[in-house]
């Protein structure tokens, strides 16, 4: 339904007011567990994510970060537990057909033998978000890929693929964006582009969950940190200053000699 312009302004103001006053619950995870064979990759995860939150998902290798991301977007089925997105149980009913969840995996989810532009056109069509040619070019230019829009993805470097993935989600505008270790492949301007996009998504009331090992970077950027270890959630706190508890919790899986800048 198209609202008249003043109504949109009022709706926006009310949303901004209430989202600041009381957090709007967007994702609810209850007693979530996932087993691969006889070993638990995740055990008893309870989590509430609110509109406008940017959550850093941290933990050593094998902690279950990617598994949690894949469960949140429905690519994996939980062994036990439930996930509710915007009030609807994930993978049941029409909610699963809503284009609300994005999964940014830096080197994946793009067809090698399609050009950058063709990849965008395909996914926009599948998400029923077809855009004008100019909008695609603008998104590609914002990602720094204006000169590579007609190149096959196979010929792009991993950093450029990551930029293309960001451009894809920039155009698709998901409400919940899950990001799996983006920093490793991006150069300085790529990181700026990513963080500007994530900040914009968060400010629009979206939820961002970012799994990474770049602790200092996300500690500065995110509003909350969740730490997993061996499939269990050992830390979940909103950012504050000073944040000594986070410093202690994260210290054990930082490289030797590296400290988190307070």
């Amino acid at each position: 339904m198209n609202l008249p312009y003043p109504a949109i302004i009022v709706e926006h103001l009310l949303y901004s007011f209430y989202s600041r006053r009381e957090k709007i619950l967007y994702v609810e995870v209850r007693r979530l567990s996932k087993a691969y064979g006889f070993s638990w990759a995740l055990k008893d995860i309870n989590l509430e994510l609110h509109a406008g939150e940017c959550v850093a998902l941290l933990g050593p290798n094998g902690a279950g970060k990617t598994t949690l991301l894949k469960l949140l977007c429905g690519l994996l089925q939980p062994t036990t537990g439930e996930i509710h997105i915007d009030g609807a149980k994930l993978r049941q009913g029409p909610a699963r057909l809503e284009p609300t969840i994005g999964f940014l995996s830096p080197n994946d989810h793009l067809y090698d033998k399609l050009t950058a532009q063709e990849n965008l056109r395909l996914f926009l069509a599948l998400y029923n978000r077809e855009k004008e040619h100019g909008e695609l070019e603008t998104a590609l230019a914002a990602a720094g890929l204006a000169d590579w829009s007609r190149e096959y993805v196979a010929s792009l470097s991993s950093g450029m693929r990551c930029r293309l993935s960001i451009a894809k989600w920039l155009l698709l505008e998901p409400k919940l964006l899950l990001v799996d270790e983006p920093y490793g492949v991006l150069d300085g301007s790529g990181v700026d582009f990513l963080e500007a996009y994530l900040k914009n998504a968060r400010d629009r009331g979206g939820v961002v969950v970012m799994a990474t090992h770049h602790v200092a970077r996300v500690a500065a950027f995110c509003s909350r940190a969740v730490i997993l270890r061996r499939g269990r959630m050992i830390f979940d706190e909103a950012k504050r200053a000073p944040w000594e508890s986070f410093h202690r919790a994260v210290g054990e899986f930082l490289p030797r000699g590296e400290t988190w800048p307070s």
Partner: protein, 225 residues
């Protein structure tokens, strides 16, 4: 409408990728014509026996070539984990299934356009007026093969040793469709009597409809598990 649009986009993507990669179709053409030549020179089929033997040999070649195509059917989705990207998108899973069936069918029909006339010439089948009927049986048999093949190709997608597993699982279930196609073709070639071959035609149509419906219904479960 959205379902058809999504199916069309996915089919466009598969055809474009095949045009650029040229992996499946070239291998199928080469293998198909090679097998027909081998059968022709090795078996030395007499003209009076051609109607009895030719359909079986033709379908042997088509099934082998089709299986080669099925092995590659989800290759683009395996690379860069693109299947995840499709499953993440808000599309009906049946659209993925239908687009893959149509893509596979396109490859097989292109193959048959080359192989059928070649087979006609090599086996001295002079009754050209019967070619459309034979082609009709070939098309219905191909639809059955593509529907079931796509389903099993998806089923074995993440299985170890899928190259061995796929034909092992697929071929026993393909027996009704292969048998009906071969018997129908044989009757057409031998007697030229379309009425006599009708029971086989009905069986083929029934098989195609049942497995297409079943495929659309179960594909979601197959591809997501």
């Amino acid at each position: 409408m959205a379902f058809l649009k999504q199916t069309a986009w996915l089919l466009w993507k598969d055809l474009l990728l095949e045009l650029r990669r040229r992996e499946s179709l070239l291998a199928m053409f080469f293998f198909g014509t090679l097998l027909l030549f081998i059968f022709h020179f090795a078996l030395d089929v007499q003209p009076d026996k051609a109607a009895d033997m030719a359909p079986g040999l033709l379908w042997l070649a088509l099934v082998f070539c089709g299986t080669l195509g099925l092995m590659q059917l989800f290759q683009a989705e395996r690379e860069n984990r693109c299947l995840e990207a499709l499953l993440l998108s808000p599309i009906d899973r049946a659209a993925i299934f239908l687009s893959k069936v149509l893509f596979n069918l396109t490859l097989m029909v292109l193959l048959e356009i080359v192989v059928f006339p070649l087979f006609w010439v090599l086996f001295n089948l002079t009754l050209w007026e019967r070619l459309p009927w034979v082609f009709l049986y070939g098309l219905l048999g191909t639809v059955g093969f593509c529907v079931l093949g796509t389903l099993f190709s998806a089923l074995t997608l993440s299985a170890r040793g899928r190259e061995i597993l796929l034909p092992l699982l697929l071929l026993p279930l393909m027996i009704p469709v292969i048998l009906a196609t071969i018997r129908g073709m044989e009757i057409i070639l031998r007697a030229g009597d379309f009425q006599e071959s009708l029971p086989w035609l009905h069986l083929l149509i029934g098989f195609d409809v049942i497995f297409l419906t079943a495929g659309i219904l179960v594909f979601e479960w197959v591809v997501e598990s």
